[in-house]
Symmetry: C2
Subunit: 439 residues, 2 copies
């Protein structure tokens, strides 16, 4: 993906820069923080995603002639500000939670240090990326935990915007899904892609048998045949007759799944197709997947519910100025005064406190005035530091970007999940699995 | 926006083409239809959006060297199929509901006629576009109807993926919103953009007064000042003192809005700022907007709820093969046999039956075998035809694309809304406002 990302931005970011350049405050060094005030209703934990994508998008946040000309024509900012924008590229520092990390209310997920003008312009992009991707990853992680090791494929591209489909496939993969139907996600992020045929393919042919023959001819007997276009039992019989007992899998996309799946397994076994897998794909979410735990399902395909965050389509993260330097160069913690939208000013650091069994017990957020004025906490065996440098002087740490960063995030998520207390994985509504404490 | 859209596609579309090319069925002329089996839970009507964007994306659905190389390397299809893909561009016909049209369960929103291979490949793109954009437009239309003529601005970019943010701004505009915060939506689709400052701008300054002075200096006294960073009453007093009684507007982003808004109006009037407007932006949705109908609000800014479809983030549309020619050239209506996922085979046409007051009473769907085998219905005063040609031989009708098409869709939506029965605009859950009848 290429091209400027500078206009994926709310207009007020640029008008603030415009006004702050005029009175000189634009150059005050500032700390901005992204965090979630709360988890989606009843969830026990969230999973950070979007970070690797974001770093790449920030590197492409440049105003080229096309963007400047449009801003000039529409008088979004003063001409002097256009000159400043023309030279803009982000040169600050970003640190925060690793992609794939678990998070809780108040976790300081991302901190940006730069001049006010440099940092504030990134607000919309930071939040678009973290909110959407974390929403998908947080929902996906719950599906992964109830799937009990059975593989999951993301196939919800058709239920979300064509661009967000790619991001959703990536976020679900980080959360532990194994594959996606989306080809661009395969190309851009190295995610395994899957899929063989829809009902249309069967309906195109004069009979189900002809359709199966055509598919096996092209894709081989290890393919997955969709057996529920007409009658499932007849579909299974035809599938094994056409492909042989070495048939890779059958897919079921409708019906009362627990019952149907059991019957199909019995039928496959009776036909000798004992190694033929069963994959199901009918409007699944974490609850219906859990309900299938006792059924002989081999893998799941999940669409709508994962790409829409299963009831929580935005993760609710906000991006706030938490500290800035005054004219004397001292850091001043700042926060909006509001009861309903409280935020905690000042620089943050964070660690997860683990007990002797390496189980997470507390999210510790350390408060300071600003980067230069606070001591670091001392990590020890039971205090795992959560914040890592992501970008220095505007240069992304390459270990977090691209397909490699995506795989690293997936691996990190797998480790972190083992650390969460067992209550975290309950599906029912409840409180965050561990409390957040400010020190 | 440029670049190939061909990989924004589920893998199984290409494997179906692969297998169908091998047995020759790929070239069977086919009719695919996009429709929604039902409206989101309790909704009375939906609003079609995404059509104009889709037509542009289809014109860019081409496999260039980069796409072909990736498909070859990952062995998604056989080499012979790659040659076919290299020559592919959509050359078929598309007709359907105009963008901005109201729709109901079963409304035949989009019909594609082309060979199977040509048409099936567009499935993912068709559904991504229609599902997401219609979800936003359908939620936005409800907000517009309860806003009772007060202007609405879409400002949810930060709550959805950076690409879907642009599509959401466009869909909300079609549904009757007046502006967006998203600059790319302004550039790409000609939508008016708005926004002045966030809390960070006030917190950057040593006092609220200094922040307001800086903003008025740069943006003029007609700007909108955000008055709730500290104490709202003091903020309003400072705003009028700094900008004068000609201040454009104050924005309130927190607090118990009905109470706060009334107090702010009284205070502004007492200060002589009788023409200063009040805009509110605090986590609004159709229900909280309705609750403010008696308060002296002048305009609304809506974020999360509109870009996430206010509880229905995907419109639930599906894309089905409904008819195809057999080897003799006759059209054969086809449909999957399933009780839970029923669809009606065959070609459709549609009209809305209006009564003598031009109020919609029925969604009529006319069934036929295929394009050549069915009589057209006779439109009359009380039968408004709903389907129009959108693309012929792969060429989009330019009146539906670009900023002009977006404006046309917005105007069409405004007309259509006047036609709906009054029950359609009730916020509470209920049945579709008119029944769908098949003939």
């Amino acid at each position: 993906m290429t091209g400027s990302t500078a206009l994926f931005t709310d207009r007020y970011e640029l008008t603030m820069v415009d006004a702050a350049l005029l009175d000189g405050t634009a150059h005050r060094e500032s700390l901005f923080e992204a965090f979630a005030r709360r988890l989606p209703d009843g969830r026990r934990y969230g999973v950070v995603a979007g970070t690797g994508r974001l770093l790449e998008l920030i590197e492409r946040f440049r105003f080229a002639d096309a963007e400047l000309e449009w801003l000039r024509e529409h008088e979004v900012v003063r001409p002097a500000t256009l000159d400043w924008l023309a030279d803009y590229r982000f040169r600050g520092d970003i640190w925060g939670y690793r992609e794939g990390e678990a998070y809780f209310p108040g976790s300081p997920l991302l901190t940006i240090r730069a001049t006010f003008a440099e940092a504030v312009m990134l607000e919309t992009l930071v939040l678009s990326t973290l909110n959407f991707d974390s929403s998908v990853a947080s929902a996906a992680a719950r599906m992964v935990s109830v799937a009990l090791g059975r593989p999951l494929a993301e196939m919800g591209s058709r239920r979300t915007n064509e661009g967000s489909a790619v991001a959703a496939a990536r976020a679900a993969y980080i959360a532990g899904f194994d594959a996606t139907s989306n080809l661009e996600a395969g190309r851009a992020w190295g995610i395994p892609t899957m899929g063989t045929a829809a009902h249309a393919f069967t309906l195109l042919h004069d009979s189900e048998e002809e359709a199966f023959r055509a598919q096996v001819e092209a894709l081989g007997p290890k393919t997955t045949l969709l057996v529920d276009t007409y009658d499932i039992a007849r579909g299974v019989e035809t599938a094994v007759r056409v492909a042989g007992t070495g048939l890779g899998a059958v897919r079921i996309d409708s019906g009362d799944l627990p019952t149907v799946v059991g019957a199909v397994r019995d039928q496959l076994d009776a036909l000798g197709a004992v190694d033929t897998k069963i994959t199901v794909t009918s409007d699944l979410d974490e609850f219906t997947i859990a309900a299938l735990s006792g059924a002989p399902v081999d893998s799941y395909g999940v669409g709508t519910s994962v790409v829409t965050g299963s009831g929580a389509p935005a993760a609710g993260m906000v991006f706030k100025l938490v500290a800035r330097r005054d004219d004397g160069g001292d850091w001043v913690p700042v926060a909006k005064a509001s009861t309903s939208k409280a935020s905690v000013g000042g620089r943050k650091n964070a660690a997860r406190r683990l007990d002797s069994t390496r189980t997470a017990r507390e999210e510790l957020v350390f408060l300071g005035d600003g980067p230069d004025g606070a001591d670091e906490f001392a990590p020890d065996d039971q205090l795992r530091p959560l914040m890592v440098p992501l970008m220095r002087d505007g240069e992304a740490d390459a270990s977090f970007t691209g397909p490699e960063g995506t795989r690293a995030a997936r691996a990190h998520r797998a480790e972190v999940m083992q650390e969460l207390p067992i209550e975290a994985f309950r599906l029912g509504r409840g409180e965050p699995a561990i409390p957040t404490t400010y020190r």
